[in-house]
């Protein structure tokens, strides 16, 4: 009993020191001098614009990666093709590689002397230090999440139901919409929640390619860093608070979805 209490104290103590106490501190620091300074920072046009940029990138990246994740999951679980093992391993790459390295690869490709950058700038497209680069970086870092959730669920599911539907004359499209998708829906939703969290919070890759031009390519996360560097700590805490609140909501969504995913 004593040992059990000891382990519990160690585990909970570690969580408090590393996770909870710092988070609580941010909430405290933000409201230390009242609501007014918080509101002043959050209603600043620069802040509003930064959140807008982040939301646009997220709104483009999440649907794309959801479709891609489902297709990838189906391909990896249901099909046999050359290079399948390779695809399976490479999907995880954005999780293992530093976001800065991902940013650098985009920088080298789309920069003025890059492979694609030269051609694009000749035709009047600016990718680097503009919205397209932010969107590309956001898509890149959030690729794996839907596929990672969908693959194990598809494996567990098997394809007997689909075969039965096929013998009854259902087309491939009908089988997907009526059987496969409803069966994996919680895995998809869970993947979408994780993807959204990652997109909203991406820093490393975006910071490299965005150029961080105020009112143009500044995102919520790069804004937090800039405010910190400019000693506008109250501002940095206020913006962080919004992001942290979103994170807590994501956490709640994850907790609510996970048990259902297990049952489905």
């Amino acid at each position: 009993m004593l040992r059990r209490l000891g382990l519990r104290t160690v585990a909970l103590g570690y969580l408090v020191v590393i996770l909870l106490a710092p988070l609580a501190m941010v909430f405290y620091r933000t409201f230390e001098s009242g609501l007014e300074p918080v509101w002043k920072v959050l209603s600043d046009p620069g802040t509003v614009h930064a959140f807008k940029v982040t939301l646009i990138a997220t709104a483009i990246a999440v649907p794309l990666n959801t479709v891609f994740g489902i297709l990838c999951g189906l391909a990896i679980v249901r099909r046999r093709f050359r290079g399948k093992g390779l695809l399976n391993a490479f999907i995880d790459l954005p999780l293992a590689v530093s976001p800065v390295v991902i940013g650098l690869s985009l920088y080298l490709l789309y920069g003025r002397t890059g492979w694609f950058g030269t051609w694009l700038s000749e035709h009047g497209f600016q990718v680097l230090f503009a919205m397209p680069a932010i969107v590309l970086a956001t898509i890149f870092v959030s690729v794996p999440f839907v596929a990672r959730e969908v693959i194990p669920t598809l494996r567990e599911l098997g394809n007997e139901q689909e075969q039965a539907a096929a013998t009854l004359g259902a087309s491939r499209w009908q089988r997907f919409w009526r059987i496969t998708l409803p069966s994996i829906r919680w895995a998809v939703i869970y993947g979408v929640v994780l993807t959204t969290a990652r997109c909203l919070g991406e820093y490393g890759a975006v910071a490299v390619v965005s150029g961080r031009i105020v009112d143009k390519t500044e995102t919520a996360t790069t804004l937090v860093e800039d405010l910190t560097l400019n000693f506008n700590t109250a501002g940095a805490y206020a913006v962080s608070l919004v992001l942290a609140t979103i994170a807590v909501l994501v956490l709640v969504a994850m907790t609510l979805i996970r048990p259902r995913e297990g049952r489905a």
Partner: protein
């Protein structure tokens, strides 16, 4: 190739890489210890609010890393209310990495422990084995694959982390500048080729770690398939 070697062996790059790998290994060891204990407590212990604690574990996955860095700065920075000012030191880097890698080992060990039947442990205890022996001879061999794959994932994450580190480490070359920040600074100062050389080292490590996870998965699931 020559140019690559020249950059990678430059004193600043070497210092950054050494620091990155050193800090990552320390953090992985901390994670193995505390992650396993946390997973054990979450599975075998009962206390009020356990499901809340279970949910909180995923916080580092949901929280933007730059916010993670700022939260640590709020508590362990220059104006620390608990008098623990570790910001702008190597300790701060370890702290930030502990924050962002916390869920990995817990989340890989937890499902294994849940599946593990307590019968074997009870049998061992009835035969006179002490708690430590039971843990070492029965529990540990069973959860080892989980610990290892969690550790590899945490290592990969720790090697590439930037957001949480950049606001708390001070990014002092030769002292608190990690590899990802070195890459970032080289790009910002207009030397993308310098950045690329160090990036290749990180990319190579990421490949090796991905292969390691794949190999672990293959090795431990081949018995199930047979």
């Amino acid at each position: 190739m020559h140019a690559f070697w020249q950059v990678v062996s430059s004193p600043e790059a070497v210092a950054a890489l050494k620091l990155t790998f050193g800090a990552a290994f320390v953090v992985v060891l901390i994670n193995i210890l505390f992650g396993t204990v946390t997973a054990w407590v979450l599975v075998r212990d009962e206390f009020p609010g356990k499901s809340l604690v279970n949910a909180v574990i995923d916080l580092p996955f949901a929280l933007p890393t730059i916010v993670a860095g700022l939260t640590l700065l709020a508590l362990y920075g220059p104006s620390s209310p608990v008098g623990a000012h570790v910001a702008y030191t190597r300790g701060a880097i370890v702290l930030a990495l502990c924050f962002v890698t916390l869920p990995f080992v817990v989340r890989t060990v937890q499902p294994v422990l849940l599946e593990l039947d307590t019968e074997m442990e009870e049998a061992a205890r009835s035969l006179g084995a002490g708690s430590f022996t039971v843990f070492r001879r029965i529990v540990l061999p069973n959860i080892l694959p989980g610990i290892l794959s969690g550790a590899v994932l945490a290592l990969a994450r720790a090697l590439g982390e930037i957001g949480s580190i950049i606001v708390i480490s001070g990014n002092n070359p030769y002292h608190t500048e990690v590899a990802s920040v070195f890459i970032f600074n080289q790009i910002q100062s207009g030397y993308p080729s310098y950045a690329a050389a160090v990036a290749v080292v990180l990319l190579g490590s990421a490949f090796v770690l991905l292969l390691a996870v794949g190999a672990l998965r293959f090795y431990y699931t081949r018995h199930e398939r047979a």
